[in-house]
């Protein structure tokens, strides 16, 4: 005897078993009656797949006796031993029948623990008798149009959908339950379309509107709300495994939120699903892609990544590719193509070659910087994941344009100023000659009162003047302070460069504050990208370039200067490895700890002018060649105060532009490599084995071939997904998968209950004709997502009560036939949003960087590289909707985890719904919800209450939308009375309760009263009904 695995689980654990493990429903998918032939795709193939394919399936390696039952041809051909497994039309002559019914030695062998039951054996026999018709697997057949069933009871049916549903219900001896009441309907609709409960006013308006269009008006209003996009996005992000952190190892933040906002905007704008698909998979490959399309292409970058030290490039290349294959196949095709990484798929017709060929579509995604150079300073959060894109806002675009215009003007002025110098040249030459003759050293300035070197800079250049410390030079100096390491630098300068001469030295004036002294100071130069020129004063705290012995890249120059006075730090260029003739185009100022003021930094030249200039000066004017003339003119210009001032203006404009650019959010996006990586089949998935064949991008072979010349691209792949079967695509499949997802959002389960797997091991659709009908209409509508939602929620099936009748409980406990609506606990984000909305705390602001609600302290203590401290948003941002909450893959917010939000390490097509004490503890004790309860209570007390009972009814209605019963009011009234009494006697406890959270407690409300009402609202927020969609 065989115990099915699910039963085993039930016996063993008696645990809550989600849909995944549900015991098969007593209603089996119709096997056909005497006059309808047994359906191969829905009935026979699942049996073959489960019981026969392990040894006689698509996987050649595990095939036994040379027998394949995958298709008609191989199943009916003669085997080596002369037998024929299936002789169409005659079970008695079929070797397969004899084997599976052999009482002594039945197939499958008992030791496989995979026996067929009597019903299954009979089905196989009938199927053989009927000719062993092998039509392909249902999911991969083109969509078929079936006429809408005509049903006698058309009074009930409101739309096409209802006809399909009713036909099946009646056939199984079931009937739909009555429509739900108006309040439940509106609440259900609001959650399903916006993820939020309806406001009390909306409920009242709906109840009082007796017009025919009341419901469709509500549907239209909710579909038009921007909350629609937010709601649908939460589900989409589960699929594409969107999160704010990289996932592996250090789990640093990566920058992807613009993608999340793109998805919300796309749903709200009702972007057709075909375009939605193409822009995500291949937005970057469209002709002249716009910024939004590039942001959409971030889809290819959402996977988990790592830069853990010691990683193996080849290994992660394989991991990333597999991740992308798994995800795209599951999201768009409902396929478990990922299972063919190490061997041909055991149940579906995917081969290993298919897997690697599919992976080759992504071989052009340029994203290996971080795994090629894991030690490249990536242990920061956010970390860097090249390439990244600056998202330009309209405002920034406008400001930059204005600044560029002013830079053009400044350039004209500089040119004019240089021209003005010509008449003065003779005099200037004479002065310079005199200065040279005097033999005095000469100084030039790098930075003094402002940053005017041009080029790139880093750190906040804080030019100040403090009362107690007069500047050493000019008007201002820089204040640089930190608890640890701090560095400001400028490099790749455009306005200033130092050409080093023999004997020159670099100097900077510093003033150390006595009470918070820095431990070490460092001056550092950049020469054509090389920063290995450092001079250090003080201790060894600064780690950059540090070695045991001093060297040019870390020259120790003794103790720190005394504090409380200006001192000149100086270092000859020669000591830090810079030889004459070298050009310095960057200087860094580093300190460890404390506060240090930095004043003028510059170069002291042994000669008053560079040797080359001195030499040219000695040549009579008429003998100078054009280069020499230009050399002197440039040098003169560089010394001219007018020119210096104008150049400084220009440099500061450029700094403004670069500041704007830097303030723009970054996002990962897809950039295509010119030459894609070579992809080989990895034998047994082993990345160390390079003996496998090289493959080109291709769709799974059994689905055909992409048309077109040359290497196929991601764009070809994306288009194939949304192209009709008649034109060589798999549009019906893609449409079925998406329509099924939307159906499951609105009805609790999918028409194909295994929403994640449309393959042979998935569950066949309960209503295949309806699924096809909806999928084809979806395509015909131009992939119109809102129209799909509208169509589904207008059905009578949708509007049924969620309370099952006895007969359906008995016959169809999984409700696969939809004799009633579904009821389920809200997903995590909706639980959060509901509690905040009901309490009046919800901040309804769209878009932007993810927000960080408070969470238990030390929750991130096991994160490292860098060590993590969570900085919760303590302002109103903490009350934004769940879709905007920071998603830390390794340590998801405990509230979200307790309510089954997935960590989004990979595709989560269906969330489980647990019911645990941990979730109870969150709603009871999480300070966010205690504060929400207090806000709710304040809201109640701010009204002019008629009575406690009336206020309780008001509060209950806010949370559940319905009028409470007298009994319910009595329970809460008693809690209120008790609480009042208790807090009156213990006012300190009342104050402590009210002190939870950041929102101020209004003085006008009496603390004991507020605390007592907070207990009432805590109770309401903890009700099963409050967090249940019915």
């Amino acid at each position: 005897m065989k115990i099915p695995p699910a039963c085993l689980a039930l016996l063993l654990t008696s645990a809550a078993i989600p849909v995944l493990f549900a015991v098969s429903s007593p209603i089996t998918i119709s096997t056909g009656t005497a006059d309808t032939p047994v359906d191969f795709a829905r009935v026979v193939r699942p049996i073959l797949s489960e019981h026969c394919f392990p040894c006689h399936g698509p996987n050649e390696e595990s095939r036994k006796a040379g027998l394949s039952l995958v298709d008609f041809e191989s199943a009916t051909s003669e085997l080596e031993d002369g037998a024929t497994a299936i002789v169409p039309g005659s079970r008695k002559r079929s070797a397969m029948w004899l084997m599976i019914t052999d009482p002594e030695d039945p197939m499958p062998p008992p030791e496989e623990n995979n026996e067929l039951n009597l019903e299954q054996i009979e089905i196989l026999g009938r199927w053989i008798d009927e000719g062993a018709d092998y039509t392909g697997h249902w999911a991969y057949l083109p969509g078929a149009r079936t006429p809408v069933p005509a049903i006698g009871d058309s009074d009930w049916a409101a739309t096409d959908i209802d006809h399909f549903i009713l036909e099946r219900l009646l056939a199984e001896g079931l009937r739909p339950v009555p429509d739900t009441d108006a309040v439940t309907l509106l609440r259900r609709l609001s959650y399903d379309l916006t993820g939020l409960p309806p406001a009390t006013e909306d409920v009242d308006r709906f109840l009082s509107d007796s017009g025919d269009s009341a419901y469709s008006d509500a549907v239209d209003r909710l579909l038009a709300s921007r909350h629609f996009g937010e709601r649908l996005t939460s589900s989409w992000l589960d699929l594409v495994r969107y999160a704010d952190t990289v996932g592996y190892h250090g789990d640093q933040e990566h920058r992807v939120w613009p993608y999340r906002d793109w998805v919300i905007a796309a749903f709200n704008a009702n972007m057709p699903f075909d375009r939605f698909t193409i822009e995500q998979i291949a937005g970057d490959l469209l002709e002249n892609p716009n910024q939004e399309q590039l942001i959409a292409s971030c889809y290819n970058r959402l996977l988990q990544t790592t830069h853990e030290g010691g990683l193996q490039l080849g290994e992660y290349r394989a991991i990333y590719m597999a991740d992308r294959v798994r995800n795209l196949a599951e999201v768009w095709m409902g396929a478990t193509l990922g299972c063919a990484q190490c061997h041909d798929h055991k149940y579906d017709p995917f081969t290993m070659r298919d897997f690697y060929s599919f992976g080759a579509f992504f071989a052009d995604v340029d994203d290996e910087d971080h795994i090629r150079n894991p030690y490249g300073g990536l242990n920061t959060t956010p970390t860097r994941r090249a390439p990244e894109l600056r998202v330009v806002t309209d405002e920034a675009r406008e400001s930059t344009k204005k600044l560029s215009h002013r830079i053009d003007e400044a350039e004209d002025q500089i040119e004019a100023a240089i021209a003005d110098l010509e008449p003065l040249q003779e005099r200037w030459e004479a002065d310079l000659r005199a200065l040279i003759a005097s033999g005095e050293a000469h100084q030039s300035t790098w930075v003094d009162d402002r940053l005017d070197t041009g080029g790139e800079s880093s750190g906040r250049w804080n030019f100040v003047r403090e009362e107690s410390i007069p500047p050493h030079s000019g008007e201002l100096y820089r204040k640089q302070m930190s608890d640890g390491l701090v560095q400001h630098y400028t490099h790749e300068t455009t306005e200033k460069r130092i050409t080093v001469e023999e004997g020159d030295l670099l100097f900077a004036w510093v003033y150390l504050l006595g009470e918070s002294s820095s431990k070490a100071l460092m001056l550092q130069c950049n020469t054509s990208g090389n920063w290995e020129h450092r001079a250090v004063w003080g201790g060894d705290e600064i780690g950059y370039g540090r070695k045991d012995k001093s060297w040019a890249g870390y020259r120790r120059l003794g103790a720190l200067p005394p504090s409380g006075q200006w001192t000149r730090l100086e270092v000859p260029f020669a000591e830090i490895g810079i030889s004459p003739g070298t050009i310095v185009n960057g200087v860094a100022f580093t300190q460890f700890g404390g506060t240090t003021y930095w004043d003028r930094c510059g170069v002291e030249n042994v000669q008053a002018a560079p040797a080359a200039v001195i030499e040219t000066l000695s040549i009579p004017v008429r003998h100078r060649n054009p280069d020499q003339r230009a050399q002197l003119r440039d040098y003169q210009a560089n010394q001219s105060e007018d020119v210096i001032a104008l150049r400084a203006t220009k440099a500061s404009l450029e700094t403004e532009i670069s500041a704007i650019e830097k303030s723009l959010p970054l996002t990962l996006y897809t950039r295509s490599l010119d030459s894609p990586r070579q992809v080989r089949i990895l034998p047994r998935g082993n990345w160390l084995d390079s003996s496998g064949a090289i493959v080109e991008p291709a769709i799974p072979a059994f689905l055909g071939k992409l048309a077109g010349e040359g290497r196929a691209s991601r764009l070809d792949l994306a288009r194939w997904l949304v192209t009709d079967e008649s034109a060589g695509g798999v549009g019906s499949l893609t449409a079925r998968v998406f329509v099924n997802r939307v159906w499951s959002l609105l009805f609790g389960t999918g028409l194909c209950p295994s929403v994640e797997d449309f393959g042979g091991q998935g569950r066949p659709p309960t209503h295949p004709e309806l699924l096809d009908h909806l999928a084809l209409e979806f395509i015909d509508s131009g992939w119109d997502i809102k129209a799909l939602f509208r169509r589904l929620v207008h059905s009578r099936t949708y509007r049924q009560s969620s309370i099952p009748d006895e007969r359906s409980t008995e016959l169809d406990p999984e409700n696969l036939l939809y004799s009633h609506q579904a009821r389920f606990r809200l997903p995590a984000e909706m639980v959060r949003d509901t509690l905040l909305a009901v309490s009046g705390l919800l901040v309804d602001q769209p878009g932007g960087p993810s927000v960080k609600p408070p969470q238990p302290e030390h929750y991130y203590r096991h994160l490292n590289f860098p060590p993590r401290k969570y900085h919760p948003d303590m302002n109103a941002q903490q009350w934004r909707r769940g879709v905007y909450v920071h998603w830390q893959r390794q340590y998801l917010h405990p509230m979200f985890l307790a309510f089954d939000a997935p960590t989004r390490e990979d595709c989560a097509a269906q969330r489980t719904t647990s019911n645990t004490p941990l979730a109870a503890l969150v709603l009871l004790n999480d300070p966010t919800f205690v504060e929400a309860a207090r806000g709710f209570a304040q809201h109640i007390l701010a009204r002019v209450p008629k009575s406690d009972q009336e206020s309780i009814a008001f509060a209950m209605k806010k949370a559940t939308c319905r009028q409470p019963t007298a009994e319910e009011i009595a329970v809460l009234a008693e809690l209120l009375a008790e609480s009042r009494e208790h807090f009156k006697e213990n006012p300190i406890e009342a104050k402590a309760l009210l002190a939870v959270g950041r929102t101020p407690v209004p003085k006008s409300i009496e603390p004991v009263e507020l605390a007592a009402w907070t207990e009432v609202t805590r109770a309401i927020l903890n009700l099963h009904e409050t967090i249940t969609r019915e």
């Binding site: 063993l12 015991v23 579906d348």
Partner: protein, 477 residues
């Protein structure tokens, strides 16, 4: 097969989950047990076992030395490696092998930085870094031939915990609870505790104790040494236990009223979960407070109440075991000794050696060692090659041979199993793969690893994966 089982099967086929729970939900207590931290289903356990086997262990305490301790300084003495100290590593060992941080570097042998001697009646060879563990030498079975497949910390932990690096796979604690259920009514079946101390602690992701695709109730619950021992287990400020009870009673009454209208069985279970939560609010603080332990016990472990050390966690592990928790997973982060091996071995062993030995002794004196399986080890070992220079170099990650030990729960004490080659590079004798460790653990718990499988995305997923796994019978008593 007997008639009973046939009855059970037919029940399974015609009773749905809803009905199943619905029928129980008349009595709240019963529904509660079925929903969360399910109790052990004694009779059903035998379904998993070949008839001649009985479970030896009821629970597991896994002491994970996170970062990867060196086998060459703990349990695997290599005199020949000492002889080659400072010499180039023979290329025959390393060619074509995955190398972590030493990629592209010169590879030189580093002799053991420890002395070894024989301990106990069995004469097990244990290093001088572990004087306390040496005192329980006769209780432990040392495996010197472990191998794993992942050379970086994060995936190596994932592999050790779930047998795979594919995301969303259940960790072993979840598998064990899935297979056996919990023995405790008011504690989770899978508890995770962690401590820190040593070199540059590597991150540990909560995925390491995730239930993956199994029901989330089966995921590990992390107990914390600072703040709430379990998230949100403490009442809000100003709310006494008495107030909380009143509140939960009101919620229960309202939920019951609602259930009259909607007949939703999930409401019964919600009510039960709130009662359990309320119970946990008392039982967890009591559990976590070790100040009621005798001074002798505290001294034996070297624990100070509330210090969050590995010592305290070992003591908590015993308390959790006493209260019926099935799988207790301790992590000590600090064993990633790329540099300053000697210094940090001293640190880490200072934290972990005494409490580990104390836990084994304490379980033994309480007659609990017989049915508690204790497992000690890291996610991998360390290279025979040195890493970095200076007076005290370190060792890199190593997956081709390393050591772990097991004790209690049916394990034969005083045994050493398997061996690495002369330089401690490759496991060459009686190689034990991670999946063999899993199979052995499940076997001791009375579970046939090939039958503990769940269908997910078209695959029959097992903790031990698709490759053949072997129960290491040689270390079983």
């Amino acid at each position: 097969m007997n008639e009973n089982l046939n009855d059970i099967q037919s029940q399974c086929e015609c009773v749905s989950r809803r009905q199943f729970l619905g029928s129980l939900s008349l009595g709240i207590g019963a529904a509660a047990l079925s929903q969360w931290w399910p109790p052990s289903a004694g009779a059903s356990t035998s379904l998993l076992l070949p008839p001649n086997l009985v479970p030896r262990a009821k629970r597991v305490i896994f002491l994970c030395m996170a970062g990867g301790p060196s086998h060459l300084e703990t349990f695997d003495e290599k005199p020949q490696l000492a002889a080659l100290d400072g010499e180039p590593m023979p290329e025959s060992f390393t060619r074509g092998m995955p190398i972590a941080q030493l990629q592209g570097k010169e590879l030189r042998c580093m002799g053991p930085r420890a002395t070894f001697s024989r301990h106990g009646k069995s004469g097990q060879v244990i290093s001088s870094y572990l004087p306390h563990i040496a005192t329980v030498a006769d209780d432990i079975a040392i495996i010197r031939s472990m191998v794993t497949e992942q050379i970086n910390h994060d995936p190596a932990h994932t592999f050790m915990n779930s047998g795979s690096i594919i995301p969303h796979r259940p960790s072993m604690g979840s598998w064990v609870n899935y297979g056996l259920g919990s023995l405790s009514e008011n504690l989770p079946g899978f508890v995770v505790l962690s401590s820190v101390g040593g070199r540059n602690p590597q991150p540990i992701a909560s995925r390491q104790w995730s239930s993956g695709f199994l029901p989330s109730e089966l995921g590990g619950v992390q107990f914390h040494s600072a703040g709430d021992p379990v998230h949100y287990v403490t009442n809000p400020p100003g709310i006494s236990r008495d107030r909380q009870e009143h509140l939960i009673a009101a919620v229960r009454d309202l939920n019951r009223l609602r259930a009259r209208t909607t007949h939703d069985p999930e409401i019964d279970s919600r009510i039960a979960q709130y009662e359990l939560a309320f119970g946990m609010q008392a039982s967890i603080p009591e559990l976590i407070d070790i100040s009621d332990e005798s001074p002798e016990t505290l001294a034996m472990y070297g624990a100070t109440p509330g210090d969050g050390t590995f010592a305290s966690n070992c003591l908590l592990a015993r308390r959790l075991a006493e209260r019926g928790v099935r799988f207790i997973h301790l992590y000590h982060r600090g064993w990633d000794h790329h540099g300053e091996l000697k210094k940090f071995m001293t640190t880490c062993c200072g934290y972990c050696d005494q409490p580990t030995a104390a836990l084994i002794k304490d379980l033994k004196q309480r007659k609990m060692l017989d049915d508690t399986l204790v497992i000690w080890g890291g996610e991998f070992g360390r290279t025979p090659m040195s890493q970095g220079g200076g007076d005290d170099p370190g060792r890199d990650h190593h997956i081709k041979g390393f050591s772990m030990f097991l004790a209690g729960g049916g394990i034969q004490g005083g045994v050493t199993h398997g061996a690495t080659d002369d330089l401690g590079y490759n496991a060459v004798e009686d190689v034990v793969h991670v999946r063999d460790l899993h199979a052995t653990m499940l076997h001791l718990l009375g579970i046939d690893h090939e039958r503990l499988s769940v269908q997910y995305q078209g695959l029959d997923v097992r903790l031990t994966g698709v490759e053949k796994a072997r129960v290491v019978k040689e270390i079983i008593a």
